[in-house]
């Protein structure tokens, strides 16, 4: 007991004597074995929704079907378009009635690995997320009972649901499960960086290797962009300026903690060269602009993450960092657009 109290005292002491002073340099960090950046073989799926070929087929049809919207013109793929790296190439998404949304459309690549979804983390799983955009009046504006009726009127869908989820019917749950099953097939493919990580020294050029060193070292990027998916699935305020006049409070809308004001989920960097513009509001058009943002230590200082500070990168280091991010683009996959049930 006495020992414990003694130890406690030491700790209490260290807390009061080692407060982090703004601008104090952080210890050199973030080096991980190259192999830790390789995609784990298995794609996780919940026990009650293990993917099967027919579940994926059904989910794909639903994902690409504009009749999931009230106007019959907007599908998930309108915004999560495979031709734009499963995003839309726009600063922020455009929903029902051509109205722009307040946030950028994230890629759905590798979302199978996410334990928490959306820029503010308000959804827990792909199943939990899938009905959200259908119902949202600003996105697809389709009420769920109305959707179930539309699907039930089509023999093609009735068959697919029967085969995919025998005995479960066409329900909100099975619609969500099928869409989620399809999304779990959208995973990153082998990139030059991965080939290098597996030992092929010639897979990438010297600038990529130098850029990766900056990424793990001077750039301190791995404080947040960690592991194979280059995200910690965490929430940070990195000082991105708001675009509209109303500041986006981000994660704070879900958890009222001061450090979460203006904090957003760390996005994946896989295929990031394909998903411009960048940030939750599409503020930056290029990866060069993103690197400049980090180099100046962000713009909004209020509530800024302590892991963000000016980096003083030279032009070579900046270019290398961009070259590294471009090496994360996977082998191109051709996506066949499904024929949708007409009767």
């Amino acid at each position: 007991m006495k020992n414990k109290i003694l130890m406690a005292t030491v700790f209490a002491f260290s807390v009061t004597t080692l407060p982090l002073v703004a601008g104090e340099s952080l210890p050199a960090t973030g080096k991980a074995p190259l192999a830790s950046y390789l995609r784990p073989h298995a794609v996780p799926a919940p026990e009650d929704n293990k993917p099967t070929a027919v579940r994926v087929e059904l989910g794909k049809a639903l994902f690409f079907d504009p009749r999931l919207s009230g106007s019959n013109t907007i599908s998930c793929a309108t915004c999560h378009n495979p031709a734009f790296g499963w995003s839309d190439g726009l600063p922020t998404g455009v929903g029902h009635g051509m109205k722009p949304l307040t946030r950028a459309t994230p890629t759905i690549l590798n979302t199978a690995y996410n334990a928490i979804l959306m820029w503010d983390g308000r959804k827990k799983s792909l199943e939990d997320q899938a009905l959200g955009p259908i119902e949202a009046d600003v996105e697809m504006n389709q009420d769920i009972p109305g959707l179930l009726k539309k699907l039930d009127a089509l023999e093609g869908y009735r068959d697919l649901f029967k085969k995919a989820y025998p005995g479960e019917g066409i329900s909100p749950a099975t619609v969500a499960k099928a869409i989620a099953s399809f999304e779990r097939t959208i995973v990153s493919t082998d990139s030059p960086f991965d080939r290098w990580a597996r030992g092929d020294q010639k897979a990438v050029t010297a600038d990529v290797k130098r850029g990766f060193a900056v990424f793990e070292g001077k750039g301190n990027c791995t404080a947040c962009h960690q592991g194979f998916n280059f995200t910690d699935y965490g929430f940070h305020n990195i000082g991105v300026k708001d675009v509209g006049d109303k500041p986006d409070e981000g994660r704070y809308t879900q958890r009222k903690l001061p450090s979460l004001k203006g904090a957003f989920k760390t996005p994946t960097l896989r295929d990031v060269a394909l998903t411009a513009p960048y940030m939750r509001n599409g503020l930056y058009k290029t990866l060069e602009e993103v690197v400049d943002h980090y180099d100046r230590g962000g713009d909004l200082k209020e509530n800024l993450s302590a892991n963000i500070k000016p980096l003083n990168l030279d032009p070579q280091e900046k270019a290398d960092l961009v070259a590294f991010m471009k090496s994360l683009t996977g082998r191109p996959v051709s996506v066949t657009i499904p024929l949708l049930p007409m009767h």
Partner: protein, 98 residues
């Protein structure tokens, strides 16, 4: 000792140390006594932010960097759910006993 002056639980109070490493707490469930202190030490190279919004006790220890510790005294009997604000996957419980 500083702690005696601060807590007034000098005789009974213990301090329990929880390490935050690789985005995990070193224990999933910690059992302590009312009045005990729990100190959260960050062994990662990036920041953590321990908090609880439990009915039994709610607090926000703010964000703290590598090598730093933040401590909280457990005031009431009950189960306190602990999370990291930055990394929602980091979770643990403190069972506070009489």
């Amino acid at each position: 000792m500083a702690i005696i002056a601060v807590t007034g639980y000098a005789i009974a109070a213990n301090e329990h140390i929880v390490i935050q490493k690789d985005k995990h707490f070193s224990v999933k469930i910690l059992t302590v006594k009312v009045g005990d202190w729990v100190s959260f030490k960050n062994d990662d190279a990036f920041f953590h932010n321990v908090f609880s919004l439990s009915d039994a006790q709610s607090f926000d220890l703010g964000s703290h960097g590598q090598g730093q510790a933040r401590r909280v005294q457990m005031a009431k009997e009950g189960t306190v759910d602990i999370e990291c604000a930055i990394h929602p996957e980091m979770k643990m419980q403190i069972k506070v006993m009489k």
